[in-house]
Symmetry: C2
Subunit: 244 residues, 2 copies
DNA sequence: ACCTGAACACCGTTCAAGT
DNA sequence: ACCTGAACACCGTTCAAGT
């Protein structure tokens, strides 16, 4: 079904030699930022696994190797994409109520990680942050904990625990994680039956719930457990010191 | 530097044609299990990213395409590897004490996920379990919760929360996750200084702790928070029903 | 300073041809 | 039933040659 266009008539016999070097026509739009943005576009359009130097370059109308003038490697490009997506997180202003503030931060993180194509989330969640850029979310989370009287060391543990939970939950939500439940009732039905068939008594008993999964509610369940536990522990600590 | 070997004298003019088909010599050791095991060997020796159909086949002394007689695709091979690693988890016997049992299950999961090359962990943690095999860990965890009086639906939420936390923590530990801390003091030192330099007040204040990371202790901190919260919530629920 | 051609050493996968 | 050759459409990356 692919029709070859008719050959254009060559008016000038002086055929141009195979062109090399930077084409003079191009209004050199190539830059590190433009590359990262183009990569995000590829993710939005075709998913993470479609990201290649060639696919990104194609979107920029340039050869893949040209990217090496602005990035160090594909891996560093992936890091940059993760940073870009994370930088879009809207860090909420603190109210002074730890419960409310932690919940707001968690929701903002979830929105940022899952915004744009879900595939981008796996990048954000599975690569180490080593650039010290984008520390705003961390700073505000620490501020929330320490404003509520947390010791520095304890605050770091609490932040890491929260981040680990969110990473695990969102990775599951981005359709790449340990899970048995399904969003789609078309899938959940047969799966429930299969779980009952396993013969494992407890698995069979919880099959109706295990076969179904509401990502938003599941995220809330765990984050509430953690927040309540943090608040309770801080209250206990402040009571201890006041008693003396 | 590549020396071509001298051509062997051909005694028989009936030169064998380019051999095709299954070589009669091979004691056909190829099987799905053998392939999965060879893949795990590749991971242990060279890391996850070294796993390719060609590298696995090489270890088996066979052509890469031969694998397609036993596996459906590379992706299904990765699923099988994850299943194999998970199947090595030693599921602990329950004591009846929810705190103790949950902690034992969590530690066993951590050991299984991190056993062999760390790269295998990312496979186990980042692929959905869809084969209904290997449900033993899930069954025993549900048994622990429900033995302590948990409602089926709540037990499912609790299991998912715990698994999400462990996934996030272990992914960080398998050197692929959101983290700023380092195991190595050689790295932690300069990183602490860099964190202080950021100018972010709370980040700077917690820099000594944020720059350091003891994976085992960190895992324990979060899992204890969760377990205590679960136990407290179950106690409250049982008090509520008894009061009536 | 920045882009391309040629080249290299890889990938996963299909399919017909062999035993 | 199971393995290989040939082939295809991809990869990331280096480096010299061009502008």
């Amino acid at each position: 079904m692919t029709t070859t266009p008719p050959p254009r008539p060559r008016l000038r016999p002086t055929a141009a030699p195979a062109r090399r070097g930077r084409p003079p026509t191009g209004s050199s739009t190539l830059s590190r930022d433009a590359i990262v943005l183009a990569a995000v576009e590829v993710i939005d359009a075709e998913g993470v696994e479609a990201v290649s130097l060639r696919s990104v370059a194609r979107r920029l109308g340039v050869d893949a190797k040209a990217l090496y003038n602005h990035i160090e490697s594909k891996d560093s490009l992936l890091d940059a994409i993760a940073g870009e997506v994370l930088s879009r997180m809207v860090v909420p202003a603190l109210t002074g109520d730890l419960s409310i503030d932690l919940m707001a931060i968690a929701q903002a993180f979830r929105v940022a990680a899952l915004s744009s194509h879900r595939g981008a989330a796996t990048l954000v969640l599975s690569r180490p942050v080593e650039s010290l850029a984008n520390l705003a979310p961390l700073e505000v989370t620490l501020a929330a904990f320490m404003g509520a009287g947390a010791e520095p060391e304890w605050a770091v543990h609490a932040v890491r625990t929260t981040l680990a939970y969110m990473t695990g939950t969102l990775l599951r939500e981005a359709s790449a994680g340990l899970t048995l439940g399904a969003d789609d009732p078309e899938i959940a039905g047969p799966r429930e039956a299969a779980l009952v068939e396993t013969g494992l008594p407890h698995v069979a008993r919880v099959a109706p719930y295990l076969s179904r999964l509401d990502h938003a509610r599941e995220f809330d369940f765990g984050i509430k457990i953690l927040i309540d536990a943090f608040v309770a522990q801080l209250e206990r600590a402040s009571l201890d010191t006041r008693e003396r």
